[in-house]
């Protein structure tokens, strides 16, 4: 299968019907999404280095895959993300405090999934895939005009649960769109040690409609996702998109990628940077007006400041929060445990 691309690394837009709706507004919007996401990501990274966050998993390099896909579906569509999907989350209106809370360790999740139609991050690899399929079965039963999209990584595709989800979705003809960000690595494991045949081929074997797309080309991702989502919406069955991209940073702030991958590889992918590629197109077409560029830079700087501010401002949670939501209806023994611990801690206060 050929990799679908609309914008060359040099920033040249292909003469393709899929690019028919491309204009300055669209490109500026997507560029803004990506710039802000990268800024938040970089800021969170340095906050982790300063000890303000316990951990951070960078989305650096994968902005086009995330922004292109989430901007291609409707706000009423539901998303089941993985854990590195900060750019997608931001497009759904999730703010810095909500995004950072989990990584600061003050809560286990930051946002209200229902409000953003964006589920919590799932850290157990691939576990969100059956959730997405089940949710889509609900959409089906409701007769609703909605598509369910779920993000996962190349490594996660090896888990049994991922493959059960692929098969289940096809069998049930559930309106779900699997979106794989193939960033080449699962921590230190390259895709060559992860599977012997490309994921998009495997997915086709399951009966999913598949597309392989250049994940660093935001316009291609957007067009491919729009096409796939439209087919899913039309009841043509579930689909899978494999977006080829690259994780520019380490796996997480605990990881040292120089142990397992070469500088040359990194240099190569740096030339394919998704932001620069779109910026070339913007510049070429004269769409990057000085006003836009300056405003965006201001906005990014303000965002960075806000990220720092809200992060540092997050107070440590109260012990009581630990007991609050184990069950929807607290049991007597849990209430006793909670009260017991409160009395115990109170005994230390003079």
């Amino acid at each position: 299968m050929e990799t679908f691309q609309l914008v060359s690394p040099e920033g040249v837009l292909a003469d393709d019907p899929a690019a028919a709706d491309v204009d300055g507004d669209l490109c500026r919007g997507l560029y803004r999404d990506m710039v802000l996401a990268r800024r938040l990501d970089a800021e969170a990274y340095s906050l982790q280095r300063q000890g303000e966050l316990g951990l951070w998993l960078q989305s650096w390099g994968q902005e086009a895959a995330q922004v292109g896909s989430i901007r291609a579906i409707r706000d009423t569509d539901w998303v089941f993300p993985s854990y590195r999907d900060h750019a997608a989350a931001m497009c759904r209106g999730i703010g810095p405090e909500e995004l950072l809370a989990q990584w600061r360790g003050v809560r286990q999740s930051g946002w209200d999934p229902a409000r953003h139609r964006f589920h919590l991050y799932t850290l157990v690899l691939a576990a969100q895939l059956p959730h997405a399929v089940g949710y889509a079965m609900g959409v089906q039963r409701d007769g609703a005009d909605e598509v369910v999209m779920t993000y996962f990584g190349d490594g996660s595709s090896s888990e049994g649960e991922a493959n059960e989800a692929f098969n289940w979705a096809v069998t049930m003809a559930a309106p779900v769109l699997f979106f794989c960000q193939n960033n080449g690595w699962a921590i230190s494991t390259p895709t060559s040690a992860q599977y012997g045949a490309p994921l998009h081929r495997r997915a086709a074997g399951f009966g999913l409609a598949t597309q392989l797309v250049d994940g660093n080309d935001v316009l291609a991702v957007r067009a491919a996702t729009a096409r796939a989502a439209a087919a899913v919406r039309a009841g043509e069955g579930p689909a899978l998109i494999e977006a080829v991209t690259y994780r520019m940073a380490g796996h997480s702030t605990s990881d040292d990628p120089t142990r397992y991958r070469s500088g040359a590889e990194l240099d190569h992918w740096a030339t394919l940077d998704p932001l620069e590629r779109l910026r070339r197109l913007l510049d070429d077409r004269g769409w990057a007006t000085p006003g836009f560029v300056e405003e965006l830079e201001t906005e990014a700087t303000e965002l960075a400041a806000e990220v720092r501010r809200v992060c540092r401002a997050m107070p440590d949670p109260d012990a009581d929060a630990m007991f609050a939501h184990t069950l929807a209806v607290e049991t007597r023994s849990q209430a006793a445990e909670r009260a017991g611990y409160a009395a115990y801690t109170a005994s230390f206060v003079d």
């Binding site: 999740s109 576990a127 059956p130 959730h131 399929v133 089940g134 949710y135 609900g138 929807a328």
Partner: protein, 325 residues
């Protein structure tokens, strides 16, 4: 009088009838009505969209049920046999049990996982396990076990109505045994799900038990009666939470307790019960709390299960020992 299997079937039917969001899903639950006929006739009456024959994938069953629950549905999943719940263990422990807490209470996952459990039917390997301890130790789940048609019906209805995830065990050796089932929810025989039930009063020793062993303990109590010994039998019903106050009150009265379950005693849920009673009844206990259960071996071949499963004699042997203390 209904069998346990019929009583459960009616509870499912009630759920499907009274709430359009209730779904039944699992392997062979539809056209065939389930390997124990528990879901018999449901697909015919409610359609294949609500009584769903699924692919053969337990993680998929629980995982998609979670997704359906997030969409507002109330799926009741069937795992075909106790020994086949393990492929779903990840979805149950890391997702089903934790989503409410992880989401700060924003997500509820009202999923019921029904599991035919325990031995006594001469089955082949993996079809006779008593694995309640794994789930009871998992915070975020409610764990119930129905020893009677009454509980098979009413406790399952309560499980379906609960906004919490429930692991619902059905002792398969009791599927065909009959019992009364109350007609209405306000019948005094219908207890809240979290409450232990004294199924036989007694004064000398308290037997604490659940599921497949309730009948065995009742038989032991009847036999002891003939020898002038008065055994109390308490059915825990809810294994998480445990109705500790009721258990403590019972054992404080008799001063002697034996915990009986089918799972291996080593690290079994009986150890929680015994540890808790030993602590809370420390001054009223006249003898140690003994545990009678399976041995610390994999469930054996069918022709050995008579040795593996606690029976009347092994229960009475423990009773003798606590009384002789």
């Amino acid at each position: 009088m209904l069998t346990l299997s019929q009583a459960i079937n009616r509870a499912l039917r009630h759920g499907l009838e009274s709430d359009p969001k209730v779904l039944v899903m699992g392997q062979d639950v539809g056209r065939s009505g389930g390997v124990f006929r528990v879901t018999d006739g449901l697909q015919k009456d409610f359609g294949a969209d609500r009584v769903v024959d699924t692919p053969l994938a337990e993680a998929g069953i629980v995982g998609t049920a979670i997704g359906l629950a997030m969409r507002g549905y109330r799926p009741v999943c069937e795992i075909q046999f106790d020994g086949f719940v393990y492929p779903a263990f990840n979805q149950i422990t890391s997702q089903l049990a934790k989503l409410h807490a992880r989401s700060g209470g924003r997500i509820t996952v009202p999923v019921v996982v029904r599991i035919p459990v325990s031995g006594g039917i001469g089955a082949v390997e993996h079809h006779s396990e008593s694995n309640e301890a794994y789930f009871a130790h998992t915070a975020g789940l409610r764990v119930m076990v129905a020893a009677t048609p009454q509980d098979g019906h009413w406790m399952l209805r309560q499980a379906i109505e609960s906004d919490d995830p429930v692991i619902f065990f059905e002792p398969k050796c009791r599927y065909w045994s009959k019992g009364e089932v109350a007609e209405t929810a306000d019948d005094p025989l219908v207890l809240p799900a979290e409450v232990a039930r004294t199924v036989r009063p007694g004064t000398d020793v308290t037997l604490l038990t659940w599921g497949s062993m309730v009948e065995t303990c009742l038989a032991a109590a009847a036999a002891a009666d003939g020898e002038g010994r008065s055994l109390e039998v308490v059915d825990l019903r809810s294994l998480s939470p445990i109705d500790t106050d009721a258990l403590v009150a019972a054992v404080a009265r008799t001063g002697r307790a034996v915990v009986v379950h089918e799972a291996p005693t080593f690290g079994g849920l009986g150890s929680e019960v015994a540890a808790m009673l030993s602590e809370r009844c420390f001054t009223s206990l006249e003898s140690p709390v003994l545990r009678v259960g399976g041995f610390n071996v994999p469930y054996p071949a069918a022709r050995l299960e008579g040795h593996y499963r606690p029976d009347l004699d092994r229960v009475l042997d423990a009773v003798d020992r606590v009384l002789a203390w």
